[in-house]
């Protein structure tokens, strides 16, 4: 038996899962090879040390965190929203939005953007004025509709004179 073969069979030898023929060969090799005999001692010591490590108790803090996993998931379940936002299809949209916001930040925070800010202000005021006009028009339309409604009601009343007379009595 070679030293390499001896090494290959060490675990099986130690765990008693070796054929009787291999066992005899190993023992013959052990008697003739001091290096392999020394290796067997170390191998056995390493194995004993490994099997002596006991399981470790998790602390109460860790247990409390583990018990709380379902609660944590229930209250902070933002993952679907997050995964929706970071999906690859949305990458061009996100890139475009980033460029847009960078451009907007230049306009708002650089001194050179003064004219642009002024133009935006003017546009906003114009827009506001138009909205106000529309609102005023909408008010007058409501008044007109009100008076139209009254006219229609009066004319309907005149169409039914019998009922009118009864009401007068």
């Amino acid at each position: 038996m070679t030293c390499e073969r001896f090494e290959e069979l060490l675990s099986a030898y130690l765990e008693g899962e070796i054929s009787p023929a291999d066992k005899l060969e190993m023992e013959a090799h052990l008697a003739a090879c001091p290096a392999c005999a020394g290796l067997l001692v170390l191998f056995r010591e390493a194995h004993e040390a490994l099997t002596s490590f006991a399981e470790v108790e998790p602390g109460p803090d860790l247990m409390a965190k583990l018990y709380a996993i379902p609660l944590k998931k229930r209250f902070f379940n933002f993952k679907p929203v997050f995964t929706f936002l970071v999906r690859p299809d949305l990458q061009p949209v996100m890139a475009a939005l980033s460029v847009f916001f960078i451009a907007v930040s230049f306009v708002f925070f650089l001194p050179q953007g003064h004219d642009t800010r002024k133009a935006i202000n003017r546009q906003l005021h114009l827009g506001y004025g138009q909205v106000e006009k529309l609102y005023a028009k909408a008010g007058s339309v409501t008044d007109e509709l009100g008076s139209l409604k009254n006219t229609v009601v009066d004319s309907l009343k005149t169409l039914n004179p019998a009922k009118d007379q009864e009401e007068k009595r």
Binding site: L10, E45, E57, L62, L66
Partner: protein, 184 residues
């Protein structure tokens, strides 16, 4: 209560089911993480992540399978992936801690000292193994799994598992030899 029933109750959100599952598995998974990474703090973080992953994938569990083997496979995958992702930060294990030794195994004072040193060397030596070899030796010698169970958990042929465990033990024997050579 049967394990599959507990898992089903967890899926239904039944009160107390998740806690029962944690009581059954927290110690085993925490120990495995600690033995693998060698740091208590890191093992706590890893254990939380593993159980969070379990909670998220519980709905995918096939009730025809063995739950323990499934959880151990999930744990193994997570630990190895995490090791590969941050391997450069994990060169140091916690100082060897007497708390991880059973107190009953101590014999005479001299022998106990020698054995304690051997254990400390082996504990440190686990870091010299590749993540795959370390996981194999942890499952076999520290978690006491059979080779057949290990083949299922690791998704490897039986022969490969046996040879991996043997190589890991040989590597640790070499570490011991180096250390003893330095001491003598």
């Amino acid at each position: 209560m049967e394990l599959n029933t507990i898992v089903k109750e967890c899926l239904e959100g039944r009160q107390g089911a998740w806690e029962t599952l944690m009581d059954m598995y927290a110690k085993r998974i925490f120990s495995m993480a600690y033995q693998f990474c060698g740091s208590r703090q890191e093992a706590e973080d890893l254990t939380q992540e593993i159980f969070l992953k379990l909670y998220n994938s519980l709905a995918k569990f096939d009730f025809q399978r063995n739950f323990t083997a499934w959880l151990l496979t999930l744990t193994k995958n997570y630990l190895i992936d995490e090791y590969r992702r941050t391997r450069w930060e994990k060169t140091q294990r916690d100082e060897f801690d007497e708390r991880i030794l059973p107190q009953t195994s101590l014999a005479g004072p001299e022998e106990s000292l020698d054995r304690r040193e051997t254990r400390a060397v082996i504990w440190e030596g686990l870091n010299r193994l590749s993540s795959e070899m370390r996981m194999a030796v942890i499952l076999r010698d520290l978690q006491g799994k059979s080779y057949e169970e290990m083949a299922g958990i690791l998704g490897l042929p039986l022969g490969t598992v046996k040879s991996r465990v043997n190589r890991a033990r040989l590597a640790l024997a070499e570490v011991l030899k180096d250390k003893k050579g330095v001491l003598s």
